[in-house]
Amino acid sequence: MTIALSSTRPQVGRDTWNVFRRELQPVLHDPFSLIFSLLQPVVFLGLFGPLLIGSSGEPAPVVLAWFVPGILVMVALFGTSATGSNLLYEMQTGSHERTLVAPIARSALLIGRALKEMVPIIVQATVIALVTIPFGFRLNVAGLVVALVLLAIFGMGFGALSYALALASRAKDWMFWAVQQALIFPLMILSGMLLPIEEGPQWMQVAAAFNPISHVVAATRALFAGDFASPDVLAGFTAATLLAIVGLAVGITAMRRSR
C-alpha cells in the first residue's frame, strides 16, 4: 500500500492542531475526570468558605463574591502546574520520543499541549461558578465569560511552564514535584486567593505585587463584580499575557532542546 503524504515539511499550525487534538482526546473520552479533579476546590469551598464567612462577619453572598473567583484561579493554577507530569510520564515510556521522531514542529509539540490546558479550565471554572449559585454566589454571566478568557490565557502560560519544568526534570523526575510543590503554595498564598493579602505584613504585600497570580485573582474578582473598567482587569490581562508569552518562550526553547 502506498500512502500519499500531503506534506513532508513541519507546519506549525497544522501540527499544533494535531497535537492539541491528541492531547484533548483522553479528556473527551473521559469527561468525568474533569469533575473528579474538582474535589480539591470543592473542599476549599465547602470547608474553608464557611470559616471565611464566620470570621469575616459578612453575609455569605458578599464573601462568596470575593472567595469564588479566587477558587477559580486556584483551579487553573493547580491543574496546569501539575500537567507537566503527563509529559514526564510520556518521556519515561517512549511516547514523547515517538513524537520527536515524527515530522512535527517542536514548537507545535509545546503550543498544542499548552492550548489544550485551556479546555479543562473553562469547563471546571464554569462548573464551580454554577454550583456555588445555590449557596448565594451571584453570577455575572458577562464577567464569567471574560474571566474564562483570562483564566485560559493564564492557564496556557502556566501549563507551558509546567511542561518546561518536566522537560528540565527528565533525568531526575523527583525534581518536578519538588519544584512544583515548593512554588505553588507560596504563589497561592501570596496571591490573596484564600485570604486578603491586605491583612498581611508589608513585605507580603510587596511580594504579592510581583506575583502575577495576584493580579489575575484581582481581575477575576473585578470581572465577576461586573466592574469591567477596573484597572485590576487590565493588570490581570497584562500579567496573564506576559506569563503566557514567557511560558511559551521557555517551553518552546525547552522542547527544541528535548531529546
Binding site: 494535531n18 487534538r21 473520552h29 521522531v101
Partner: protein, 349 residues
C-alpha cells in the same frame, strides 16, 4: 534551500562517515560511538548486533535525528541528519525500546493521530489504521485505553504506530525485548512481510543472536562503541568462526595424540581441549561436514578411534567470541530461547 538537495543515490538509504558520539558527564567523557562508517542499500534487512552498552541505540538515536552527533556525518533516506532533520523524519519509521503510545489514549486514536502527524489524508489514515489493527491482532481493542493493554498488545501497537505512514526505512530498537517466543515470531512475521510487500529497508538493533542469524541478510557487530564486523551471517561465521567438530576419545593422552594428528592432516585447523570434558577435543575447521568422515577414517587408521563425534555449525556468538574474546551470551538477555516457527513468512537466507 537545504531541503531541496537531491538524495545522494536512489539506492543508498543510510550512509555514515566517522559518525561519533561522546557524552560528557561530570568531567568524564564517554565514547558511546566512535567512527561509525556504514552504507545500507534500499531494501536491505540489517541487524545491528552487540551487547548492552555497545552503542547500538546511540547510533540509532543519531540516525533518527534524536541525538546530534559529536563528529562525523550521516545521510538517511538521502538527507543529512543534521541539516535536514525534517526530511529524514518524514521518511523513516521508528519503533523504540519503550511503549510509544500514550497510556490514557485509545488504540485507534493513537493510530489516527500518528497518521495526522505525518500529514496523511484522513481517509488514507483511517484505512491504514484499520488495516494495521486487523493485521497486528488489535481488532476489538480499538477503543481500549493503552493503559489496559497487555505487554504484547502494547508492543504490537508500537509496531503499528511505526508503520502507519508506510515508511521507506524502518528503524527498530530491540523490538522483541520482553516478548514471549510467539509474540516475537509474530513481530518478525510482520517485519518480513513489510519488507517483502513494500521493499522497506529495515535496520534493527538486537542482542538476540538467533534473530540476527535467522532473519537478517546482513549483520553489523558493534562492541564498545566501534563496529567490528559487517557482513552476511554465513560469511562472518565462515570467515571468523568455522565449524566445530567435537571428538570424544578414550583417554587424555589419546585426545592429545588425536589433536596433533588433526593439525598435521588439516591445514588451518585449530584444536582445543573441550572445556567440559578432558577426554574430548574441539576442532575448528572450514567445511566440517565434508571433513568429518575423512577425519574419522584417518584416526581409525592411526589407532586412535573416536568414541563419539559431533559437528556444530558456528553461531554468531562464536563470531563475537572470535572477534572480542568474550561471549555475547555473558549478557543473559542474549539467550531468550528460540523464536517460535513463522508461518507464511519470508525468511532471509
Amino acid at each position: 534551500m537545504a531541503s531541496n538537495l537531491a538524495p545522494m543515490t536512489n539506492d543508498t538509504m543510510i550512509s555514515t562517515t566517522n559518525l561519533t558520539k561522546r557524552f560528557r558527564v561530570k568531567k568524564t567523557t564517554t565514547d558511546a560511538v566512535t567512527d561509525l562508517t556504514i552504507d545500507v542499500q534500499r531494501g536491505e534487512l540489517v541487524a545491528f548486533l552487540g551487547p548492552n552498552g555497545a552503542g547500538k541505540s546511540t547510533s540509532l538515536r543519531m540516525l533518527t535525528t534524536l541525538l546530534p552527533p559529536t563528529e562525523g556525518t550521516a545521510t538517511v533516506a538521502g538527507f543529512d541528519i543534521q541539516r535536514q532533520p525534517a526530511d529524514v523524519r518524514s521518511r523513516i519509521g521508528y519503533i523504540g525500546q519503550g511503549n510509544s503510545a500514550g497510556h490514557n489514549h485509545r488504540v485507534r486514536d493513537e493510530l489516527l493521530s500518528q497518521g495526522a502527524f505525518y500529514g496523511m489524508p484522513r481517509a488514507a489514515t483511517v484505512a491504514r489504521a484499520d488495516e494495521l489493527i486487523e493485521s497486528l491482532g488489535l481488532a476489538g481493542l480499538e477503543k481500549r485505553p493503552v493503559l489496559g493493554l497487555s505487554g504484547g498488545q502494547k508492543r504490537r501497537l508500537d509496531i503499528a504506530l511505526g508503520l502507519v505512514h508506510s515508511p521507506e526505512l524502518l528503524f527498530l530498537d530491540e523490538p522483541s525485548t520482553g516478548l514471549d517466543p510467539q509474540s516475537r515470531a509474530n513481530l518478525w512475521q510482520h517485519i518480513l512481510t513489510l519488507r517483502r510487500e513494500q521493499g522497506t529497508t529495515i535496520f534493527v538493533t538486537t542482542h538476540y543472536l538467533e534473530e540476527a542469524d535467522q532473519f537478517a541478510e546482513r549483520v553489523m557487530v558493534m562492541d564498545s562503541g566501534r563496529m567490528i564486523a559487517d557482513d552476511t551471517a554465513p560469511a562472518l561465521k565462515s570467515r571468523l568462526a568455522g565449524d566445530v567438530i567435537t571428538l570424544g576419545l578414550s583417554s587424555p593422552s589419546e585426545a592429545g595424540r588425536a589433536a596433533e594428528l588433526v593439525r598435521s592432516l588439516v591445514t588451518g585447523a585449530t584444536t582445543a581441549p573441550d572445556a567440559a570434558d578432558p577426554l574430548s577435543i574441539d576442532i575448528t575447521v572450514e567445511h566440517g561436514d565434508g571433513l568429518l568422515p575423512r577425519l574419522l577414517r584417518d584416526l581409525d587408521a592411526a589407532g586412535i578411534p573416536a568414541r563419539t563425534a559431533s559437528l556444530r555449525q558456528p553461531t554468531l556468538d562464536d563470531v563475537f567470541l572470535a572477534l572480542t574474546g568474550r561471549s555475547l551470551r555473558d549478557d543473559s538477555a542474549a539467550s531468550p530461547g528460540p523464536v517460535a516457527p513463522l508461518q507464511n513468512a519470508e525468511v532471509s537466507s
